[in-house]
Symmetry: none
Subunit: 219 residues, 4 copies
């Protein structure tokens, strides 16, 4: 999104310079890339939460991590809730992209592999459970998560239903229940990951993927 935005702005500048080369020079400091800066701060927040947990993820630490002052963070996000809300959105967007990427093939092994990859490389595992837990005391976050998560499970169920139709997934359990079970399993692993990281070496991750595929394969 950062990139698209940047391109759009430079197009706007071109328009101006073509039409009125002298007097219409854009006034003031160039707008910078607001969205890109927000994304940067979001990544900083994600890193801090992943590294130290939600409880230690203060505005100050996020700012420090991004190399700014607290004021800069509140300049881009009206308050902490806004920051977390945006972070939740950005993470679920990635989940949605993950599902979308395999929707056509309904390749569940690939989906699980991507999910394990996001979890570890993209720091989703030490992040999402903290985000879900933070929803306990923040109704708006809870509401957002509830909506996005329901959509995620529905998409997941759709993929599973397709897999059932093509005979690669057992069909004695409804797709929406399977989706529920599998996503819960994933959340459970993510929840324990920071406490027992040694359980999730890539060798063991492969074993878990295979065992999970075995669980849902047709009898």
């Amino acid at each position: 999104m950062g990139v698209a935005q940047k391109r759009k702005q430079s197009v706007a500048e071109q328009d101006q310079s073509v039409e009125a080369p002298v007097a219409t020079v854009p006034r003031g400091r160039p707008a910078g890339d607001h969205q890109a800066k927000r994304a940067e701060l979001l990544e900083a927040a994600a890193s801090v939460i992943a590294a130290e947990g939600y409880a230690k993820a203060t505005m100050r630490r996020v700012a420090d991590h991004a190399g700014y002052t607290t004021g800069a963070v509140t300049y881009y996000f009206a308050n902490k809730e806004d920051l977390v809300l945006a972070l939740v959105v950005s993470r679920f967007d990635r989940y949605d992209a993950m599902i979308a990427a395999i929707r056509d093939t309904a390749d569940l092994r690939e989906l699980l592999a991507r999910w394990f990859h996001l979890g570890q490389e993209a720091k989703f595992w030490p992040l999402m459970p903290d985000l879900l837990t933070s929803a306990r005391s923040e109704p708006r976050i809870a509401e957002l998560i509830a909506g996005r998560y329901a959509k995620f499970r529905a998409d997941y169920a759709e993929v599973l239903a397709a897999a059932q139709a093509s005979g690669v997934v057992r069909d004695d359990i409804p797709a929406h229940i399977l989706s529920d079970q599998l996503s819960a399993m994933g959340d459970g692993w993510a929840l324990l990951y920071p406490i027992e990281p040694e359980r999730f070496t890539s060798a063991r991750a492969s074993a878990l993927i295979e065992a999970t595929l075995a669980l849902i394969s047709p009898r």
Copy 2:
């Protein structure tokens, strides 16, 4: 945490070892029932966390809920970490008891039913994920949980192995992996429970139990 706590704890230990192993019946002055008071405060803490989340569970709120003042809580627990540590112990004790209760029969339906019951009636679902998440910033809590959880999974695996031996559970997946998968699934449900309580009506809970039994039943 240092001196004061040490004194308090050794007194408690003395009481237990000298007077009575369980010591719940007030003898002489009822005032001396240190363990009972601790348990009372622990339940208050559990209720507060279950009701409002870990973030809102301050020493003051715990004290209020138990009908005491802040000072009383810090009298019985050297500090907040101690309180949470004790709470974690008390909850895993219940998990262990749950496993122990069905170890002989290896009745998995009963085990799942008990687990769903603990989760909802005994407020474990809105509690355990908060406790696990709190471990993110408290190494001693993380360590304690890691140990107790590993033991729990091992016990669970033992039960599953027995069930495999008697042919009621599929044996194409090792028991310790099944244990891993099932406990993760449970944690995942618990994690979402406060956000989407409507997903866990007792009717739907039954459906989930049956679907989970189907998942692990032999082919």
Copy 3:
């Protein structure tokens, strides 16, 4: 109020020590005098506002002035609004007492003299307009002031009506209008006092009192 409270508490202690001299010694630190401490902080707040204005009257400065830390202030007052609310109450209580003191005699010269005295010696002038202005951004303070002020004007009107009946105050203007005019005049003086203190020397205060009495004396 502080005194009355203190007396009450010591009576309670006496009761206890008489009935059960040994075992019922009041536990814990003696309650201190919560109300007295609140009053002390209120006076500190009044002094700070009087000296530096509402804008500079931060919780920190109030605490410093009283010789405590910020935490102590928020221990006695849940938040700043609460502190200001209590301050408003305490000041209007004094206004009410002022009116009550001359209600029987309806001696307006005495009333004006008391009012000038409160204004200067008891720091009411540099205080009340700041309090009234602070109500602009705090609805609950505005509501409280509106109510108390209306009562004050009504009491004032009652005194004026009595004075009209006894022929010492002109009766061509209704008492409630006179009350309105006189209290507004007082507020106006108070508003300017911090800006032009030299206008309110005691000589000039006397002149203002006499001129005000002349204004309302019967024709």
Copy 4:
């Protein structure tokens, strides 16, 4: 505040002295109308203070209200104090104009009517007390107000003296004292206006005007 402001101000002065004494008609590039822009921002500031009180009147809100950004405000006013100073000047200019307009006739009913009108229609009532109170923590504002207010009272006294001379105002109270009393009364009403707006309906305003005229009419 130092250099930048100095440069700006001297430019403004040059414009005035060289080109035209009043200089409101845009000549050549309309961009140069420094004074008009300042006036525009001043009105925005007045509106914000009138609507939400001085405490909420931040540079940002003033800018927003005028349709600019914060930077624009600090471009036209070296700092916030400067802005408020200019605002005070502009409001007292209107008071002076109000007095000047009735100086010849010494028509006090008209003066009071105009004052009530300014207070309500031109938002002076919710504005002036906030300005006066803000002077508490800003010596330069206090100084400015003290000077302008003294001049206002002197002009008012002059009008009252004329009225006394022509027999329409009582002369048992010196004109400068009457001026003091009447202006204080007005300030007092203004101070309460935001708290009790219902006391100042136009019907009641008329009653107050008549009662005030009665107060000062000859015996």
